[in-house]
Symmetry: C2
Subunit: 704 residues, 2 copies
């Protein structure tokens, strides 16, 4: 067959260009005997523009913590009760994963007593959290949810009764909030606690199937107690939701108490080592004292005193939402370490380039790397502030009341915005590793599974973004009424000035490198959107409020996103001021600048639509974003190295520190294979097909 | 504690508004005894604006196919060799999943002989493909990859020798292209086939570790043969890549042949029932005749005749890439059926709304529903065209050569663009199901896992998008040279006119409902981007070409995306013309209009940046998009019903047809639990903690 015209020949030549089969295998053959990966990573490290150790000190907050984390990782790697004993994590059955996780917990409880240095004790927990998501979640459920609920809602006397048992896991606690039919909407919860004054007891009951407590971590197999949130009914009157300590299992036998039914939630997207479960209560009686009565309380006569302010019961949700920053940092740092190292080792293309040098590759990964640094820095800012506010609760009620709305608004908006972007980064990591991310042994798929619970759990992101938007609408109203706002919305104090300021006419993209300029741009966008949306909602009036809200839901969510990015950038900028005297401050600043451009770039259509920027500005912004990603790409490998996560924690051969990835990957795969004999199903189902007589063939074995 | 100022009280009131604990559980209690789900779905169905049966006929191409599919599903559901025997699919171990998949294959081979109606035979395969992704992939590897390679590259004589064995699975074939170190770059493949004229044999050899054939479906445990792509070396000269039939296992024993090492790839993100594997050849000899010599050939003396045109060897990749439309349709239709039904049944919020009525909810799901319809309609257009082109290969070489570049360009761009959007839809489905998507038993997580291989496998999307962009740049050059272009780029014939046409000044958003208007807009964008990018690349010249390409890679990928959407919309519009006389044509048209707006909306920043639209246009477009999604939401449930996927195939209780989801979900979870006794690890690791003596407590059992 021959082409029939010169133009057809030209076309084919062009297509062949894509599909050329010129052999170039010799080059490959050479670099596979002498693998290029280690040399590539060594070169990337030699070219680092900063000292990796200095960056690690910033990340871990000082040299002593770096040392402690290093020892903690040694402890894990050496102790057969802490580490994975054989094979790869993703080959564990659910039962094996559960056993391993509980074994790790039992061992850390022992170690807690043995380790005298509080810094190392803390480091061990941090290192274990990085090593195993299931472990982290079990500890979180017991320590953060169960214990914190007792601390926040329980009286001192109740705390005294329980605390030592909790610290030493003589009780195993869980946190029963979510129900099968109700998650983000606490008002809709159905479980009841009905007071029986004749016995001085509450009767805990799940009146319907949808009232079944659902997803409750550790209720599946291990928890002996739970804190349960229930509608509190006294003399036929519902006093709303309160918290109760409810025993579930006999600690001697592990068997369920009569009146309590718990089961296992079964197979999940990930975190198989955590026994998520469900709980049904059937007229199960607990002493009145098991109600957590620090705020709301009830006498034995059934006299109910409500909490002085319901917000107190919810304050615990605020720091919980802030933990998104820590969780995201762990999961993203693993995924990005893998993707960045693989990107620097893998070579593909006409010139056998490191794939990390492709524009689409580094622009998809480098903002993610910078984002992890932001999470790390902003995390500290948030918790420092939260601890200050929580302290007010004991010392200065007025200050507490002034601060809490903003804490609530920030926690909701951050949880939504940051978790959504984190999800995008994980997908970028997956794609950046090509087909090899499809292998469980390279961990990316498991990390994505782990993270799957974050955007919908702990408050659905869409719901939280609307809470944040509602806070902004309300805050603007306060500002319009002349109140002085604090925290993330303090810029609304000047909303008139912001709105009347002229639209930008910047010519020099370097303006965008100014933190102040970027904040101004984002402030303008938020003030404008908030003003416009508030006007629409006001016009709708009370009766049509819900309808008007829903008709503008997409814009309200967008507003919350822009506002969250604005404040995230501000907190980062504030946070790195503490590091001004470190050698790595220039890199921290550089990442902040990249992410400023990222935030503007993300909402470019908004600025174009509102005429704040024109087409030529947009082109400058796009180009600046590409340039900044390219500049940061030079430090890609050192930046992930600085997170200092050991290979055995990352569990992904293609993300190995030394870059000699292929032998490690192959060894992992072959080690996982228990037998090279044909599997039993081969004999049952493949052999009969393969050895069926051909039609017309002599029936050699036929004796008929 | 009391608030200290009126403003503080006002703030708290606002926050309390988010967090109100007004009890509203009675309403829930009622609707849980009389579940609202079935009534909700019934109402949605009663309000359908079209006849679901008529839509199903369009989707399945006629009443007879609908009937055949229904019987095929019955066959599966009743036959214990085809169906899942007990429990839920995601509780199978890898070994059980493998056995089940091979059992299903053996049974369908038997059934193929028993079923005389070719329509039912075909329907059974379609239904099984929908029922099991692992089954579908095993069949695909054997039938589409292995067999097709023989058909396309093998001589008639070789085909005669093998075809009956292949049809009846007396050989089990696989397709060894990808290597550990090389995927999208075929030129870099390392496996060699070196001719030994003294024995008239090829020696197949994997010279390095990275040469290991990797991810090869069915090589892990079952395949007896493979088609392997190898660098062909004759007398020390490399003639480039060719295809060879290479035996792997003894069909009598299932054992590996000496010189062949295969292993299992192990645990993956999904599709555990498919035995992906790896293969290493160590000086393994095959007869010369096992080279597939329809195009390239070699005599026993080692005289090598290259293929008349290398494109022939690659033509098979084109229809393979088009299969993305079918695969995506299966996976997305499952996920969207689940998400849409759950969205209509789940109630949450102030007024206990169906969550499907929230703007962010329906705008995230309805374009996905319309997209699946587009995949279905465009699939037929593509294969009709491809079959015509493939026919030319035998009858009209000139026509074949004229058409093949466009087929190549379209297949590359569609694979990239459509698979990326499909990935977004799956993530939307996951979020739309909230926490319940995290349970494996609701299948969404598994579907996401299954789809994970698509965006990077079969040609990495980023690479394919660049192939498409390169084709566009080249096609523009042809147009500039005065050649007449065909297919997806035929609009470049008028590129001058397109570029000189005035920018839009539409005032009425209904203009956007015109297919012609939307195509004009997108044509303008593509012509402009292509012209500008071509100029940049031309200016860079040959020496700087790669560098200039990479500096504009993001824009090139964006160009490919806009172009692909443009042609996808055109093919859909063409495809639904065939349905003009059906009762559901208005709905098909409505979905096309929504997706036209979607495509414009997706690239709104581009149009704003280029000044094609201004801010007021953008607002009209945004509003139109919301309105169109809302309009289509009315038919959400009937539109997914029309795909007619039985519950047992969807395997997700929250996506059940009857809407009574909670009892089904609970039954699935409890059925999966084998024992309610404490697990063995409880005795080993939990009990010792729980029953450790309290400090200072009397040591009751101490006998010392």
């Amino acid at each position: 067959m021959e082409p029939t015209s010169p133009s057809a020949i030209a076309r084919l030549a062009a297509v062949q260009n894509h599909l050329s089969i010129q052999p170039c295998f010799h080059r490959h053959a050479i670099h596979n005997y002498k693998p290029t990966g280690p040399a590539d990573l060594a070169r990337e490290r030699a070219n680092a523009s900063f000292k990796v150790e200095d960056m690690t000190e910033v990340i871990l907050r000082g040299k002593e913590n770096v040392e402690a984390m290093s020892v903690a990782y040694q402890l894990i790697q050496r102790d057969p009760d802490l580490r994975m004993r054989e094979g790869h994590h993703y080959d564990l059955t659910r039962a094996e994963d559960r056993e391993q996780t509980m074994r790790q917990i039992a061992r850390t409880i022992e170690l807690k007593k043995q380790i005298k240095d509080p810094r190392l004790r803390h480091a061990l927990l941090m290192a274990m959290n990085s090593y195993s998501e299931s472990y982290a979640m079990r500890m979180y459920v017991h320590d953060m949810l169960f214990k914190q609920a007792l601390m926040l809602f329980g009286t001192a006397e109740r705390q005294d009764k329980w605390m030592d048992d909790i610290e030493n896991w003589r009780v195993i606690g869980c946190f029963a909030m979510t129900e099968m039919g109700h998650s983000s909407n606490l008002r809709g919860l159905e479980t009841t606690s009905t007071y029986d004054s004749s016995t001085n007891e509450f009767v805990i009951h799940s009146p319907t199937l949808t009232a079944t407590k659902w997803w409750i971590g550790m209720s599946g197999e291990t928890a002996t107690h739970t804190v349960a949130i229930c509608q509190t009914v006294v003399d036929g009157k519902n006093h709303g939701i309160n918290w109760f300590i409810v025993p579930l299992r006999d600690p001697k036998t592990g068997r369920l108490l009569p009146g309590v039914t718990c089961g296992d939630i079964g197979h999940k997207s990930s975190r198989q080592g955590l026994d998520n479960g469900w709980i049904q209560f059937t007229s199960f009686r607990i002493p009145r004292e098991n109600m957590l009565m620090k705020w709301a309380s009830m006498t034995s006569e059934g006299e109910f005193t409500p909490s002085p302010n319901p917000i107190l019961s919810y304050a615990t949700l605020i720091p919980e939402r802030f933990t998104i920053l820590g969780t995201s940092q762990v999961i993203l740092s693993h995924a990005l370490t893998i993707a960045v190292r693989y990107g620097a080792v893998r070579r593909q293309g006409n010139q056998d380039e490191q794939i990390m040098d492709y524009q689409t590759h580094y622009t998809s990964l480098m903002p993610g790397v910078a984002f992890v640094y932001m999470l790390n820095i902003v995390d500290r800012e948030l918790f420092d502030k939260w601890n200050e506010v929580a302290e007010f609760a004991q010392t200065d009620a007025g200050a507490f009341m002034r601060e809490i709305p903003d804490q609530h608004g920030v926690s909701a908006g951050f949880k939504g915005t940051l978790a959504w972007y984190a999800t995008e980064i994980l997908e970028s990591c997956r794609r950046a590793c090509g087909g090899h991310a499809y292998s469980s042994y390279n961990s990316i798929a498991g990390l994505i599974g782990d993270y799957g619970v974050i955007t919908t759990g702990g408050g659905d992101n869409v719901v939280l973004m609307q809470q944040s938007a509602r806070y902004l609408i309300t805050a603007l109203k306060w500002a319009q009424e002349g109140q002085k706002l604090v925290g993330s919305v303090s810029y609304f104090n000047n909303y008139k000035k912001i709105l009347s300021s002229p639209k930008t006419s910047f010519q020099d993209p370097r303006d965008l490198l100014s933190h102040e300029f970027v904040v101004d741009v984002l402030s303008w966008a938020c003030a404008k959107m908030t003003t416009e949306l508030a006007a629409i909602l006001t016009e709708a009036g009370k009766t049509n409020f819900d309808q008007a809200w829903n008709a503008n839901q997409t814009e309200l969510v967008r507003l919350a996103d822009v506002h969250a990015w604005r404040y995230f950038l501000i907190l980062y900028q504030r946070g790195i001021q503490r590091e001004k005297n470190t050698s790595v401050y220039p890199q921290l600043r550089q990442m902040g600048q990249l992410m400023s451009t990222f935030a503007i770039h993300k909402h470019l259509d908004l600025f174009l639509e509102e005429g704040y920027f024109d087409g030529s500005h947009a082109k400058l912004i796009r180009q600046l974003f590409l340039d900044q990603c390219k500049a940061l790409r030079k430090d890609a490998v050192p930046l992930v190295d600085a997170w200092a996560i050991p290979d055995f924690v990352i569990k992904a051969p293609i993300g190995k520190y030394d870059g000699n990835i292929y032998p490690a990957y192959f060894a992992t795969v072959t080690a996982a294979q228990k037998s090279f004999d044909p599997p039993s199903y081969w004999h049952k189902y493949a052999a009969p097909l393969l050895n069926a007589p051909r039609p017309g063939a002599e029936k050699k074995n036929c004796k008929c």
